[in-house]
Amino acid sequence: MSIADPIISMRGVTKVYGQGPTAFQALKGIDIDIAQGDFVAVMGPSGSGKSTTMNILGCLDVPSGGEFLFKGRHVETLDRDQRALLRRRYLGFVFQGFNLLSRTTALENVELPLLYRGEDKKTRYDMGMAALDKVGLKDWWDHTPAELSGGQQQRVAIARAIVTHPDVLLADEPTGNLDSERSVEIMELLTDLNRNSGITVLMVTHEPDMAAFARTIVHFKDGLVERVEQKVAA
């Protein structure tokens, strides 16, 4: 697929885990272009390389070969710290396992990326509360993860991912640990962020019901993109 002026562009990206005889090629040459403002669902069988691709897209990992352009920058040439700064500025990540800091209130969890950005206390509070408001948890700001349900924890994690107004939100099976009702809530939230905040959303899911919320569905198989499904705008 080829899109004019993509925010994300992968060309022949490969990923090899391990070395020598135990080396395993998880990605065999991925080509993807993602347009600004798209809502992409990534599907495919287990082990097909979805998470591996997401980690590279999220600048958490580097490809073994090929090119990965993010906003026109060659990420494969950047070092750890430069990638950390890219994540800090442009990316938000939501994990299947929520990954909130324990014993830390929802607000403090959400404020964390702002702390690393060096925002002052007032800005952190305002932006943190706004993000919590967006995910519908304003009244729960002083609860720790242990005091929140799974769905609420995932919404806090989404608030943390969007608090910096990122360009791209990456979510690896964000509903994998939730029941279908909670899952739909999360999907509606992502849809809203995509439509109304202009955030490009990239999401891995196993469930066709969840993928149905996306505009583009990328199917993976054996470390390759098998097919890209483009839905007509709703």
Partner: protein, 401 residues
């Protein structure tokens, strides 16, 4: 960036109170144990030193017979006479003071209290030889010595047991059935190498000879060597003088012996050195054990926190920032633990020292070294495992269970 990091470090400490407490505890115990041990060790060493100096420096003890005791069979070697004393005073160079001693044991009585003690008959020179001071009252007057008057100076143990609360100077007490007037109290000297040195009654030698021993013999002569002279040289000339005076033929064994208190002091000094070394070794071991404790807790806590490190990295923290946070945490906890440890050591030593009857010597150097060492262990072992974790790929750190 530093401000942010410090905020984060304090948040983490506050949020994980038990973990923070355990980390700190390792350092507290390490520092407290070492400082307490070394401080008490120093106190004990000082106590031994003080006892050594209480023996009186460079004193030669002249006694009849060979070595301690009176030798094997044969006739009992004669005691010394007053003219021996005069000869030593006049003919020997390098002598600071000479005091004759006769000794007798007996019971002292005052108003229904009685106390069994040792009576020393000597002269005022004894005070100079033994470097004993009179705390209350005075030494013997020349005419009291000359006439052998019934006056005495008592040691502190005698004062406590016999007079209890009352002021003894000027009182009359009975010693071995004879009345005598207390003119002074000796300054405390404590437990010396030869038992309680305060359990004595000192009287003019002429009185003791007349009333208790019944002859004019002197059983022991104490010779204080002038600091400017070599003790062994003075000892040789003393031995020569006495051989001549006691008509010991060349080749015959001496029928007297000269004992150098410096020998005892050398022996005790050696013991003290060993004591110091043992204390030092034990302290080093406990510091090491404390260090291993700190290391363990730090390692466990960093393993626990690898996922946290992964989260921080994933949301855009640079490895440097995560590390700095761990470093600040380690420094804060280590220093806090160190200070608490020092404080506990202070309380413990102040409480234990009197029980051990050793002086409490606050040693700033020991406190400083223990603090710096433990804090350094805390920081190093807090920092290096964190560095390993921060070097991980954020994804691997996140997967860490």
């Amino acid at each position: 960036m530093l401000g942010t990091t410090i905020t984060l470090a304090f948040r983490a400490i506050n949020r994980h109170k038990l973990r923070s407490f355990l980390t700190t505890l390792g350092i507290i115990i390490g520092v407290a144990a070492v400082v307490t041990m070394v401080t008490l060790g120093n106190g004990a060493t000082a106590a031994v030193r003080e006892q050594i100096s209480s023996l009186g420096a460079n004193v030669l003890q002249l006694r009849p017979g060979q070595g301690f005791g009176r030798g094997g069979g044969g006739p009992r070697p004669p005691d010394f006479k007053e003219r021996d004393l005069t000869a030593i005073e006049n003919q020997l160079t390098g002598v600071r003071a000479v005091a004759p001693v006769v000794q007798s044991s007996g019971t002292a009585i005052y108003e229904g209290n009685n106390w069994s003690t040792t009576v020393y008959g000597t002269t005022s020179a004894y005070s100079e030889v033994q470097q004993w001071k009179v705390a209350d009252g005075r030494l013997f007057l020349p005419d009291e010595e000359e006439a052998g008057k019934s006056v005495c100076i008592i040691g502190n143990t005698v004062r406590t047991n016999l007079f209890q609360g009352t002021e003894p100077v000027g009182k009359r007490m009975r010693i071995k059935g004879v009345s005598c007037q207390v003119v002074g109290v000796l300054a405390t000297r404590g437990q010396g190498g030869f038992g309680d040195q305060d359990d004595v009654v000192v009287m003019p030698i002429k009185f003791v000879q007349r009333r208790f021993t019944g002859d004019r013999d002197i059983s022991q002569i104490m010779v204080a060597v002038d600091d400017a002279y070599d003790t062994s040289t003075v000892q040789s000339s003393l031995e020569e003088l006495m051989r001549e005076r006691r008509k010991v033929k060349a080749g015959d064994q001496d029928n007297f012996n000269v004992f150098d208190t410096k020998q005892i002091s050398d022996t005790l000094t050696g013991t003290t050195t060993i004591l110091t070394q043992i204390v030092g070794a034990v302290a080093a071991i406990s510091l090491l054990v404390g260090g291993i404790g700190i290391m363990n807790i730090m390692l466990v806590s960093v393993t626990e926190r690898t996922r946290e490190i992964g989260i921080r990295l994933a949301i855009g923290a640079v490895a440097r920032e995560v590390l700095l946070q761990f470093l600040v945490e380690a420094i804060v906890l280590s220093c806090l633990g160190g200070l608490i440890g020092l404080f506990l050591a202070l309380i413990a030593t102040a409480a234990i020292a009197p029980l051990m009857q050793v002086p409490f010597l606050f040693d700033i150097k020991v406190n400083f070294i223990a603090f710096v060492f433990s804090a350094a262990i805390g920081v190093v072992f807090g920092y290096f495992p964190a560095r390993r974790a921060a070097a991980l790929n954020p994804i691997d750190a996140l997967r860490h269970e």
